[in-house]
């Protein structure tokens, strides 16, 4: 019973409010005409929100492009080409070092056909350059090893064999005398 009474009172309060609102309501014609005048007004060509949205989009795209450009070497696996001197390159092969630093985690790069193609071409070019450099170094080393001074022939003499040979320690005196000059041998005679 009390609830029904309360509902009636709430309704009375609402009807009071409605009455007050009706008194304060603007005329329909005025509101309608304002709406019509707004309809006839030319629309703004420049929309601030749209411009801001476009600017944000451009910034995001530029950031993405920069990120892709500069983050590519970090994600690419490290490849070392080890070519020892004096050996053919194809025999030694290529050493792939994927865990060069401790604690470094390597994430698999996305498989993009074009990127792989360009990477393979770059690696082949590097390989060719290393082979050429290796062959050149080998040739130079051989040339250095076989080099002789132009005055080396002046150091040669007929007694080179005497100087280079050593006497035998267990020979007798007569045999040793043979090494003495001829004049001394003549005196004894």
């Amino acid at each position: 019973m009390e609830l029904v009474g309360d509902e009636k009172r709430i309704r009375a309060l609402f009807s009071e409010l409605k009455f007050a609102d009706e008194l304060a309501a603007p005329g329909f014609t005025a509101v309608w005409q304002k709406a019509q005048s707004r309809q006839l007004q030319p629309r703004r060509a420049f929309n601030f929100s749209f411009a801001v949205a476009i600017a944000l989009l451009i910034c995001a795209l530029a950031t993405l492009a920069l990120w892709v450009r500069y983050s590519q070497p970090a994600t690419r696996p490290n490849v070392f080409v080890n070519v020892p001197a004096g050996s053919d390159f194809p025999k030694t092969g290529i050493r792939h070092d994927l865990t060069s630093k401790p604690g470094m985690t390597l994430t698999p790069a996305p498989v993009i056909r074009t990127a792989l193609k360009s990477r393979a071409a770059r690696l082949a070019a590097q390989r060719r350059a290393l082979i050429a450099a290796n062959r050149k170094a080998e040739k130079e080393a051989k040339e250095l090893a076989s080099w002789q001074s132009p005055t080396a022939t002046l150091l040669n003499s007929p007694s080179d064999n005497l100087f280079k040979s050593l006497p035998q320690l267990n020979e007798n005196a007569n045999e040793l005398k043979s090494f003495l000059p001829n004049r001394a041998n003549d005196k004894e005679k």
Partner: protein, 197 residues
């Protein structure tokens, strides 16, 4: 059908619609006020925008519901959009509508003229403290004399949900009015204080 013929029909439809809108104007304004938290200037702007939408054909009545229900749903959506737009504008710090002194003065004078009685003031305060859905349900049922089904259509919820909002809102409003009665030592009951309302 030629273009001139369709324009003629459109004009006829708008003329008929205008007559209906004029008939519902006071109720529409009351609903717009409720959707705009009793801000008269904002409510008038919302109503203007609604009429503009109708004129431009952005809001098109297809006869799926009653005209009143459709119009109230349009007002509700427009008020929500305007509120969001105003919020973004206030973030941009161009001109805060709440701190505009001229507008505040208008609202003050209008509020003073309307909210004459203390009881009415307390009642509106209690309504403002209600959750939006509950406030809408109570307003549509008590103020606009809509059925719960129509209120549900306007609010865009199921009838069961609308009934729940209505019941909870009514209970909460009763409680807050009773609390006020105790706190301020006044009676909001008409028969005990007939001069107040």
């Amino acid at each position: 059908m030629t273009r001139s013929a369709s324009v003629k029909i459109d004009r006829m439809e708008i003329a008929a619609l205008k007559a209906e809108l004029e008939r519902l104007h006071c109720a529409s304004f009351g609903w717009a006020l409720s959707c705009c938290r009793r801000d008269r200037t904002e409510a008038e702007e919302v109503l203007q925008t609604v009429y503009l939408k109708i004129l431009e054909g952005k809001a098109c009545f297809r006869g799926e519901a009653s005209l009143k229900t459709w119009l109230f749903a349009v007002i509700r959506k427009t008020a929500a959009t305007e509120y969001r737009r105003r919020f973004v504008r206030s973030l941009r710090l161009t001109s805060d509508p709440e701190t505009n002194p001229a507008r505040a003065a208008i609202n003050e004078s209008q509020a003073a003229s309307v909210e004459r009685s203390e009881i009415q003031e307390r009642f509106q305060s209690a309504m403002k403290n209600l959750p939006r859905r509950q406030r809408e349900a109570l307003h549509l049922v008590f103020y606009e004399d809509l059925s719960l089904r129509e209120a549900a259509d306007v609010m865009g919820v199921s009838i069961g949900s609308a009934r729940q909002h209505y019941e909870r809102g009514k209970k909460r409003l009763r409680q807050s009015l009773a609390t006020m009665e105790l706190s301020y030592g006044i009676s909001w009951r008409r028969e005990e204080n007939p001069g107040a309302i």
